[in-house]
Amino acid sequence: MSLAIKVNDLNMAYADGIEVLRGFTYSFEAGSFTAIVGPSGCGKSSLLRILAGLQSPSSGKIETKPDTSIGYVFQEPTLLAWRTVYENVALPLKIKGLNQQLTHTRVVDALALVGLADRQHALPRELSGGMKMRVSLARALAQNPDVLFMDEPFGALDELTRLKLDDELLDIWRRQKCTILFVTHTVSEATYLAERVLVMSSNGQLKDDIKIEGNTRNEAFRASTAFHEARLTITKSLEHNEEVI
């Protein structure tokens, strides 16, 4: 298996002395689905931003394959209110200088993938929260990302919508074979989606790397003992963390 991102001894401290990452070292395999959980404020968003190159770390080394294309889904839908769904999804492609025709196919495909083919001409404010999030996902997918960063993408949605989007995401991941880094607060979501779950401690260290056994992601898996055991392991790892503080 080849590596998508290799991180070595990453440290991050903000100007006011807040340390959010300490000696973070990890290798993300190409095509893997990794979830990252940890207490609020431990530096998950910072980690994602640094790995995506949006922010530079205080020290450490990040290696990615050359010409890695990146998709990023923020916690908020972050759509341009004055642009239609289609234009929002097309914007990154337009900026990258892709020709009209290719842009069109990619946008239409991505919107079909997230089930919004018929809302192309809608403006963001005419959509529900879940739909906006799907536009945001489509925008990331349209860039054919090798690595997809997702920062609590479905955190603001209701349980049912989230479960549905989780399944859609898994479908997409299987089809596109991209590497996904998925930050979430919800342990069961991490367990259900990911092949590996990284648990971060509140002082910004990588505490545990938990492999989820039993690879079928479907309703049966959700009911299985493997699922519950994995969920328990992660929860324990998180709880222990709280006791330490």
């Binding site: 995506a52 341009l80 209110a81 004055w82 990154p92 900026i95 990258k96 404010r125």
Partner: protein
């Protein structure tokens, strides 16, 4: 519909009352002429007043146009470079806080009395330009950080960020600034005409002074009414532009 009918009835009632009370109390015409006399003066001097209106309108229009261009450009410049902003901002503020009436004579001298029109445009421009600058600045600065990062990830150049994100996002603020500036440009034009004095200016403000000197109070009121109407048109034209540009996507039109 009520929005138009109510003010209309209030206005009509007020005019009727004005007409009646002036006659009833026997107020001399050179103190407060009745509306009928003002209307009569307006009709009588229609061509000359319209000429004056066009003069004032063109000063206002040019000042407003350059305020828009200058304010938005300067805001773009300031947000590109902290260095430029730090260097220039104090002077922009100085220009703003110095009473324009005090600088106006200087401007007239510098620009030269053979170019009073340009001098008046500059004076009105000084009055009008600040709100556009500050509103555009504020609009560009409050663009959502996530949206910025999004464009950054796509490898957008600074000018792409400007045209795809910052200017459209700042548009509501720019329009608010423009609305204030439109009104201020008119005030600036009137101030400029006052300062330039009679003989050189031929706009509405000058007509007001001239009519005052000749005690043609009805004509004075007619010119004043035209100025008010001009101000109202400027204000509602901005509302219309806002409605056209923002109604589809902005929260203020829900």
């Amino acid at each position: 519909m009520m929005k138009f009918l109510l003010p209309f009835f209030v206005g009509s009632a007020l005019l009727l009352f004005w007409e009646w009370i002036v006659g009833f109390l026997g107020v001399p015409i050179f103190v407060l002429p009745p509306p009928s006399q003002i209307a009569f003066a307006l009709i009588e001097n229609f061509t000359s007043l319209m000429g004056a209106l066009i003069v004032t309108l063109s000063i206002t229009g040019f000042a407003y146009f350059w305020a828009l261009v200058g304010g938005v450009s300067l805001a773009i410049l300031f947000t590109r470079s902290r260095f430029i902003e730090m260097s220039l901002a104090p002077y922009v503020v100085t220009l703003q806080v110095t009473p324009v009436v005090a600088i106006a004579p200087l401007i007239l001298i510098w620009v030269g009395f053979e170019n009073t029109n340009q001098a008046m445009i500059i004076i009105a421009w000084i009055v009008a330009f600040f709100p556009i600058l500050t509103n555009t600045l504020q609009g560009i600065r409050s663009v959502d950080g996530g949206l910025h990062q999004l464009l950054q990830l796509s490898g957008a150049k600074w000018w792409q960020i400007l045209i795809y994100l910052e200017l459209p996002a700042a548009l509501p603020s720019i329009l608010t600034g423009a609305k204030i500036s439109g009104g201020l440009a008119l005030i600036g034009a009137v101030v400029a005409e006052f300062v330039a004095g009679s003989g050189t200016s031929t706009g509405l403000a000058w007509r007001i002074i001239e009519a005052g000197n000749r005690l043609e109070i009805a004509t004075m009121f007619a010119a004043l009414a035209l100025l008010s109407i001009l101000g109202i048109i400027i204000y509602y034209a901005h509302n219309l532009v806002e409605w056209i540009l923002l109604r589809k996507w902005h929260e203020s039109f829900n």
